[in-house]
């Protein structure tokens, strides 16, 4: 499911709209994931506060979103572009890749909520394809 030129254009176009609400998107996606999929909290047991909208959640939400923007910049070669991030996730964080899908789903829900007019089915398709490729690239160094 390679990204076509049209997909890439749709992703980049939508990302530029997202930039005005990055912090909100990041915080909401992460908060939501921790509530809707409580098993994901197991990766954040070392945080003092896992409540939605708490400081660690908000800060980390920004880190996640910036990761997504970084991936969008490297959209023409995600595998090589995200090697360092993949090593981080594979050797240090050791997040089970099944959680990438969970995070992606939560992000899509948040994007639909915050951009009801712009998150059309065509944009949804392109963003979903892109994020799936990002997840694959992140899992590259796992084994």
């Amino acid at each position: 499911m390679t990204l076509s030129a049209k997909d890439k254009a749709a992703v980049k176009g939508f990302m530029s709209k997202m930039k005005s609400r990055s912090e909100e998107i990041g915080a909401e996606t992460l908060s939501r994931m921790l509530v809707v999929y409580p098993q994901t909290k197991s990766y954040f047991a070392h945080w003092p506060d896992l409540a939605p909208g708490s400081a660690p959640v908000r800060e980390h939400g920004v880190i996640f979103i910036n990761g997504v923007y970084e991936a969008a910049d490297k959209i023409d070669d995600l595998k090589n572009g995200l090697l360092t991030l993949s090593e981080l996730h594979a050797f240090m964080l050791r997040v089970d890749p099944v959680n990438f899908k969970i995070f992606i789903h939560c992000m899509l829900v948040v994007l639909a909520m915050l951009f009801p007019e712009d998150f059309t089915p065509q944009v949804h398709l392109a963003v979903d394809k892109f994020l799936a490729q990002v997840a694959l690239a992140l899992a590259e160094k796992y084994r």
Partner: protein, 147 residues
């Protein structure tokens, strides 16, 4: 037996009571056919599904979206026994329609996203959790009679 909290029950009932079926049904099904194009395999006789624009203006898709959504009414009215309520529908999807049960999840995800778009910030994490729990049970019940 599924345990529902009062919050979950009232949330599901409220979502369906406030929902505009004529809007959400077509939006969810057409989104599914666009985002997951392989699901089009079940709609060979629905006419033009060649591109997103065609899918989104296809009247048969729209009508079917409404039908599917109303199919969930039974689950909403029988939340304490969705499994039994859907036994017949499960057989239909398995024996007659031959739908791969994995597709139920794909449509469920699209429905969640459409509802999120309609409800905006009212679609809180807790509401999402309740709605997804409901969908998971509907999906599991629909897949139960497959063999």
């Amino acid at each position: 037996m599924v345990e529902w909290t009062d919050f979950e029950r009232s949330t599901i009932e409220s979502i369906f009571a406030k929902m505009d079926y004529e809007d959400v049904g077509p939006a969810a099904l057409s989104r599914c056919l666009v985002v997951y194009p392989w699901t089009q395999r079940y709609f060979g006789n629905f006419g033009n599904l060649y591109n997103a624009a065609a899918i989104m203006s296809n009247k048969m898709v729209a009508q079917h979206g409404i039908t599917v959504l109303h199919g969930m009414d039974r689950a909403v009215k029988n939340m304490d026994n969705i499994k039994a309520t859907y036994a017949e529908l499960s057989v239909l999807h398995s024996e007659k329609l031959h739908v791969d049960p994995d597709n139920f999840k794909l449509l469920g995800d699209c429905l969640t996203i459409v509802i999120a778009a309609r409800m905006g910030t009212a679609f809180t994490a807790e509401v999402q959790a309740a709605f997804q729990k409901f969908l998971a049970i509907v999906i599991s019940s629909l897949g139960r009679q497959y063999h």
